[in-house]
Structure formats: structure tokens, C-alpha cells
């Protein structure tokens, strides 16, 4: 009970126990996230095996260049996030803030490019719902492909938005000097979340954009 750090909550014995609890909790949460996205991935796989041609047609209409750029942008954001965690361990306030800010910028860039792609698809009549006006071969099943495209990337984008909100909170707290060499748990936990969201995209990109392109 010697360690009375200001960040130590009343019900923990020491900071180590508090960190281990947060860490286990975050990993458990990420497992729930895997299963949450897992439902979508399972559905995607079922329909892709049922309608391979339609999925190839649908996929071919996606913009690989923009998707590819976004993949690079997101991987870079994971790097800046990892650097933010690294400097948080050292307790370097300015560097934490800088790298968190860069992560937000890259995340926002991803969302911006995604918005451009979405707009193109809406104008092309590929958004599911009453506006869907694609009239080529396998029209109904292409619509299902685009339903998965919008549900999966939409759910991913929602996670990005939440992530940017969390990063903003971290910046505010970091500027107040909340994270030191002794205590930087929130930076590390939100970092885990950010990497997870990144990895989801690493799976989404080939599954959605790269079907039947050799």
C-alpha cells in the first residue's frame, strides 16, 4: 500500500494490479469486437461463396487506388499511435501530443478519402436501398455485395470516428500532464483499440477490393 499514485483507484492495491486489469479488460473487449465484426465477415463469406461472379462484378467497381491509399494511410496512423505509446512510457508530454495529433490527422484523412469513395458510389447508384439503380448482370446480388460493402466499411468508419474521439480526449489529458513514465495506461489501451480498428481494415481491403483482380 506504499504506492499512492494519484491515478490509483480506491479499489486496487497498486498501479500494477490496475494496469493488468485494464489490459485484460481491453483485450477482452477486443475479443467482443472480433465477434461483432465476425458476424459480418461470416455473412460476407456465405454470400461470396454463393454468388462469386456477382461479388467479382461488384468488387471491380470499387476504386482500388483510393482503397490502397487508405490502407497506407491507416498503417501510417498505427505507426504514429505506436510512437505515441512509446513516448507515453517515457512520459514526454510534447511528443505524446504530437504523435497523437498525427494519428488523428491520418485517421481523418482516411475518413475523408472514404467519404469521397462513398459519394462516387452514391452517384453511380450503387448504394443499397431505393436509390440502387445498377442495371448490369447479377443486379440483385451486386446489391447484396454493396450492402456488405457499406455495412462493413460503415461499421469500420464508425469505429474510426469513436477512435478519433478517444484520441482527442487523450490529447486533452496529455496536455494536462496526466501521463507520466509511471502511469500511461489510457494511452496504451486506446492504442490497442486503434490498432484493432486498423487490422479490421487490413482484412476488409482485400476481401472487398481485390476479388478477381490478378
Amino acid at each position: 500500500m506504499a504506492n499512492h499514485h494519484h491515478a490509483l483507484q480506491h479499489h486496487f492495491e497498486d498501479l500494477e494490479q490496475q494496469f493488468e486489469s485494464a489490459s485484460l479488460g481491453m483485450w477482452a473487449f477486443l475479443i467482443t469486437e472480433i465477434l461483432f465484426f465476425g458476424g459480418l465477415f461470416a455473412g460476407y463469406l456465405v454470400y461470396r461463396s454463393l454468388y462469386p461472379e456477382a461479388f467479382a462484378v461488384g468488387s471491380y467497381k470499387l476504386d482500388v487506388l483510393l482503397g490502397g491509399v487508405n490502407t497506407v494511410v491507416l498503417i501510417c496512423s498505427s505507426l504514429t499511435m505506436a510512437l505515441a505509446v512509446y513516448w507515453a512510457h517515457k512520459g514526454e508530454r510534447t511528443k505524446i501530443v504530437v504523435f497523437l495529433f498525427l494519428t488523428i490527422v491520418l485517421g481523418a484523412a482516411f475518413l475523408g478519402i472514404k467519404a469521397v469513395e462513398y459519394t462516387h458510389k452514391f452517384h453511380a447508384g450503387l448504394a443499397p436501398g431505393n436509390a440502387f439503380s445498377y442495371d448490369g448482370p447479377f443486379a440483385d446480388q451486386v446489391r447484396i455485395f454493396y450492402s456488405f460493402y457499406f455495412s462493413m466499411t460503415g461499421m469500420h468508419a464508425l469505429h474510426m470516428v469513436i477512435g478519433i474521439g478517444l484520441l482527442t480526449y487523450l490529447i486533452i489529458r496529455a496536455r494536462q500532464g496526466a501521463y507520466t513514465a509511471e502511469y500511461s495506461t489510457p494511452v496504451e489501451m486506446i492504442g490497442l483499440y486503434w490498432h484493432f480498428v486498423d487490422i479490421v481494415w487490413i482484412y476488409l481491403f482485400p476481401l472487398l477490393y481485390l476479388i478477381g483482380r490478378s
Partner: protein, 550 residues
């Protein structure tokens, strides 16, 4: 949280027999001290009150259903109204009572006490869980207020996604939000059990209640997210007709059933496993005996949790899945009987040569033993492919799952409520009334649901409000039983409320039970549970040495 500060050095050591004068209940009386509390015990009480409310609403729908079924003709309501009745009964009871019931009240209250911790690992997350539960519940109530839902609690597509004109999105959103409450509670329990155990509290010294909740939590965090995304897809289908479940576009409505039951079958084990944990505590205490086969009971909880994820297809024997798939699901479903039977045999063996006393919690526990066995064995009938094709969607199925959910889960809930009531409130309830109501519930339950096995086997389908005249006599029995059952649940409501003011004060350990919550904490416990962190020296159920020494 309360404003009073806990200072161990300044307070008087109160008589351990009467419990501390300063406790979690009198630590603050304002509404804020309750609504913004992060004390796991206060949150448990919040859950207890809100669960009771939803139980009464769900029960009201059950009453209306049984009233309609009193006669073969549809003379109380139209078919559409009846569809809404059984749907709302199912949604309220499953998502807003049975799934949260034991974990949210007793798991919340007891896990930190049982493992020697000051609180759950994430107290604020715990409070958030309660608010999510209330938020989801309010949406469900709104769905009722706006005219109800008629899809059945299972929300089967394409009816729910394309054709139903009722408030599907509102009710489904309610279940979705309540689902996150369930996920966060499970996550909190897992971390707490891993990281917050007191010195000496090894995994195999944990009370089996904690093991039961650990297994439950695994299901909660692995299963619930899948139903969450499934509900999102149904909502998207209704809003934007995305086609995933719409056969017109090449979508597959059966996919919904797969995703839904991937969660909703394990959800049955979310309901029963915590009650099984309660059983292990109550039976040992009132047999004055060490539990028989501790390891087997602990691991059978985990086995049920794991196997539970591999059996969802037994809900779909007649839905058009391949016969070979059904055979595999049938075999896997039989396997669940093994860990379930291990538990029942071990509890029975614990009774053997014990000095059994029949206090109210024990009556409920013994009731559980019989009712769960009937529910479990009829589950084996239903797992059998050929039998299931005959009784699928009949009252046989309805009777089976009520024996598990009401006869198992709610009997366990009632046992827990009586067993830990003195701990939670510091008051004793009237034992005579409690035994009487346990008996009323047992009789009322059998009279309600046993005839449904027979009428279902004779071919009466579920979810219809008119039926051939030859089924009437059994339905009259069932409705009469439901009335008795309803009274059986109202009696405890009255005497528990009475005991809050007039019940005699409880000592710290009125049952002379083992466990940190009884031996080291007051009744009611103080805000941070223990004056000093307890050190555990022995296993959970060392009842016998004490008896021989006396």
C-alpha cells in the same frame, strides 16, 4: 458515491454479531448517492429493483396469454394482439429479466465479496451497464406503448425485416442496447475474477458461484456481440432494404437464424449457469457438508459454456438445413447433457449423509434440482432429430424451456434472493411465509407447465390463440397453475418489502454459512466490503470440521 470517508483507524469496532453500524446502505440517502454510485452492492440493488419491475411486466403478458388460452375460441383478443402478447412476454422476460437476473444482482453483489475484493475491477463501467440496461428497457417499454411487436422474441426474418408492420426496430434496438449491458457486465466479472482475488484465494478455493459466473461471462462476451450485429443487419434491412435476409434479392433468411441462435442458444446457459452457481452455495450450506466433486462442478460450468456454442443448429432441424448438419448438431446437443448431469449428480451426492435442513433457500434449491432435471431430460428428447420433427414448435418445446428458464433459472434466482437477503438488507424475512410461497411456486409451476408437455405431444402448436376443443382441459389446468404461480411470486414481493422495515435484524452470518461474504463482512456489508483485505486459508466449503468440533 457517498461523501462519507472510510477511515479504518477512527471507527469503533462494532460487535461482529450485529454487523457494522456504518454500511453501504446508510452511507448516503440522496437520490444522487444511488443513481451515481459506483459501489457494486448499490448497483446490484438498482438492478434488483428494475428487474422486479420488468418481471412484473413480463408476468402481466404471461397472465393475458394464459387468460386467452382458457377457452378454445379467440374470445379475449384478436390473433394480431395475441402475437404481440407472446412476443412482448418473450422479449421482456428473456432480454430484460432472465439474462441479467442472477449475474446483475447476485453476481454484482457477491463476486467482490466472495473473492475478497473492494469492488469490481471497473466500477464506473458497472454503473454504465445499469444505465444501458435501463436505456434498452425504456426502448422496449416505448415499443409496447406504441403498439407492441409481433415477430416473436426471435425476430425471425424475412417477417421481421420486411413484412411486419409493428415496432420491430424499437424493440430490437432495446435488446441491442441491453446486450451491451450484458457484455460489459461479463467483461467486468472476467477481469475481476482474474485480477482482484484476495491473497490465498486460489482458483480452486473460489466458491462455485464464482466459477458459474466466470463461465457465464465467457458466453456473454463471445455470444452477445454476434446477436448485436445481427440486430443491426435486421434494422438496416428494414431501413434501407439491403437484401441480406431478403430471398427476393438472393438473400438468405436462414442466415439470420444461424446468427441469432449462435447467441441465443448460449444465452440459455447465460440464464442457467449463474443459478447453478447459486445451487452449489445453498446446497452445501443446508447440508452442512463440503461440496461433492468441486473440480467436476467447476469444469462442467466451463464445458457447458464451450459446448453451448456448438449446438445452435438444433433450433433449425425443420428450417431447411442439411440433414447431415442436423445430425452433427444432434450429437453435439446430447453432449451438453453430460456436464449438466455431472452437476445434478454432484449436488445429489452432496445431500447424501448431510444434515439437511429445509429452510426456504433450500426448498427452492431442491425444487431446482427436480425441475431442472425434467427440463434437461426433455431437452435430450428434443435434441433427437426424429422426435423433434414431431414436437417442433409445439407446447412440448414451450414446456421444456420453461422448465429450464422458470424451473431452473428463476428457482435459482429465488433461492439466491432468500439466501442472501439478510446479507443484502441486514434483515430477516419471515421463514414460514417463505417456505409456504416456495411450496406454492412449486405446485403452481408444475400445474402450469406439465400439462403443456402433454398437450404439445398431442400436437398443439405454440403461438396460436385458438385451438381444438379436445385440448381445453389441459389448457385450463395450465391457466389455473399460472394463477397459483403468479400468487406464489407475489407473496415474496410482499414479505420482502415488509421485512425491510419490520423484519428482525440479521447477524453477520445467520445461516452459519462458509464464505468470505458471511464470515468476514457485516450484514449489510460496509462500503468497501472488508475492514482489512482478507487472507484465505482454506477451500470454499469446509463445513464438516466445524460440525465435528461442535
Amino acid at each position: 458515491m457517498s461523501t462519507s470517508v472510510f477511515k479504518p483507524g477512527e471507527r469503533q469496532l462494532s460487535d461482529p454479531g450485529s454487523g457494522p453500524t456504518e454500511n453501504y446502505l446508510n452511507a448516503g440517502f440522496s437520490a444522487k448517492s444511488w443513481l451515481l454510485t459506483v459501489d457494486h452492492k448499490r448497483i446490484a440493488i438498482l438492478y434488483l429493483i428494475s428487474l422486479t419491475f420488468f418481471f412484473l411486466i413480463g408476468g402481466l403478458f404471461a397472465l393475458l396469454i394464459r387468460l386467452e388460452l382458457l377457452t378454445p375460441a379467440g374470445d379475449l383478443m384478436q390473433s394480431e394482439t395475441y402475437n404481440k402478447m407472446f412476443t412482448m412476454h418473450g422479449i421482456i422476460m428473456v432480454f430484460f429479466f432472465l439474462i441479467p437476473a442472477v449475474p446483475a444482482v447476485f453476481g454484482n453483489f457477491l463476486i467482490p465479496l466472495m473473492i475478497g475484493a473492494k469492488d469490481l475491477a471497473f466500477p464506473r463501467l458497472n454503473l454504465l451497464s445499469w444505465y444501458l440496461y435501463i436505456g434498452g428497457g425504456l426502448l422496449a417499454i416505448l415499443a409496447i406503448a406504441f403498439g407492441g411487436v409481433d415477430t416473436g422474441w426471435t425476430f425471425y426474418t424475412p417477417y421481421s425485416s420486411t413484412y411486419s408492420n409493428s415496432n420491430v426496430i424499437l424493440a430490437a434496438l432495446g435488446a441491442f442496447i441491453a446486450g451491451f449491458s450484458s457484455i460489459l457486465t461479463g467483461l467486468n466479472f472476467i477481469v475481476t475474477i482474474h485480477k482482484m482475488r484476495a491473497p490465498g484465494m486460489t482458483w480452486f478455493r473460489l466458491p462455485l458461484m464464482v466459477w458459474g459466473h466466470y463461465a457465464t461471462s465467457i458466453i456473454q462476451i463471445l455470444g452477445t456481440p454476434v446477436v448485436a450485429i445481427t440486430i443491426v443487419l435486421v434494422a438496416l434491412e428494414r431501413l434501407f432494404s439491403i437484401g441480406i435476409f431478403n430471398p427476393k434479392l438472393g438473400g438468405d433468411p436462414i442466415l439470420f437464424q444461424h446468427l441469432f441462435w449462435f447467441y441465443s442458444h448460449p444465452a440459455v446457459y447465460i440464464m442457467i449457469l449463474p443459478s447453478m452457481g447459486v445451487m452449489s452455495e445453498v446446497i452445501t450450506c443446508f447440508s452442512r457438508k463440503k461440496i461433492f466433486g468441486y473440480d467436476f462442478i467447476a469444469f462442467s460450468s466451463l464445458a457447458i459454456a464451450v459446448l453451448g456454442f456448438l449446438v445452435w443448429g438444433h433450433h433449425m432441424y425443420t428450417s431447411g438445413q442439411s440433414i447431415y448438419t442436423s445430425m452433427v448438431f444432434s450429437i453435439l446437443t446430447f453432449l451438453v447433457a453430460i456436464p449438466s448431469a455431472i452437476k445434478v449428480f454432484n449436488w445429489t451426492a452432496t445431500l447424501y449423509k448431510g444434515s439437511v435442513s429445509y429452510s426456504a433457500p433450500m426448498l427452492y434449491a431442491i425444487g431446482f434440482l427436480g425441475l431442472f432435471t425434467i427440463g434437461g431430460l426433455t431437452g435430450v428428447f428434443l435434441a433427437t432429430l426424429a422426435v423433434d420433427v414431431h414436437v417442433h414448435d409445439t407446447y412440448f418445446v414451450v414446456a421444456h424451456f420453461h422448465y429450464i428458464m422458470v424451473g431452473g433459472a428463476i428457482m435459482g434466482y429465488m433461492a439466491a434472493l432468500h439466501f442472501w437477503w439478510p446479507k443484502m438488507t441486514g434483515r430477516l424475512y419471515p421463514e414460514g411465509w417463505a417456505r409456504f410461497s416456495a411450496l406454492v411456486i412449486f405446485v403452481g409451476f408444475h400445474l402450469t407447465f406439465f400439462p403443456q408437455f402433454i398437450v404439445g405431444y398431442m400436437g398443439m402448436p405454440r403461438r396460436y390463440h385458438v385451438y381444438p376443443e379436445e385440448f381445453q382441459i389441459l389448457n385450463v389446468f395450465s391457466t389455473a397453475g399460472a394463477t397459483i404461480l403468479g400468487i406464489g411470486y407475489l407473496i415474496p414481493l410482499v414479505y420482502f418489502l415488509w421485512s425491510l422495515k419490520y423484519g428482525p435484524r440479521s447477524s453477520a452470518n445467520p445461516w452459519n454459512a462458509k464464505g468470505l461474504e458471511w464470515e468476514q463482512a457485516g450484514s449489510p456489508p460496509e462500503t468497501f466490503n472488508f475492514r482489512d483485505t482478507p487472507v484465505v486459508m482454506e477451500g470454499a466449503y469446509e463445513y464438516e470440521p466445524k460440525i465435528w468440533l461442535k
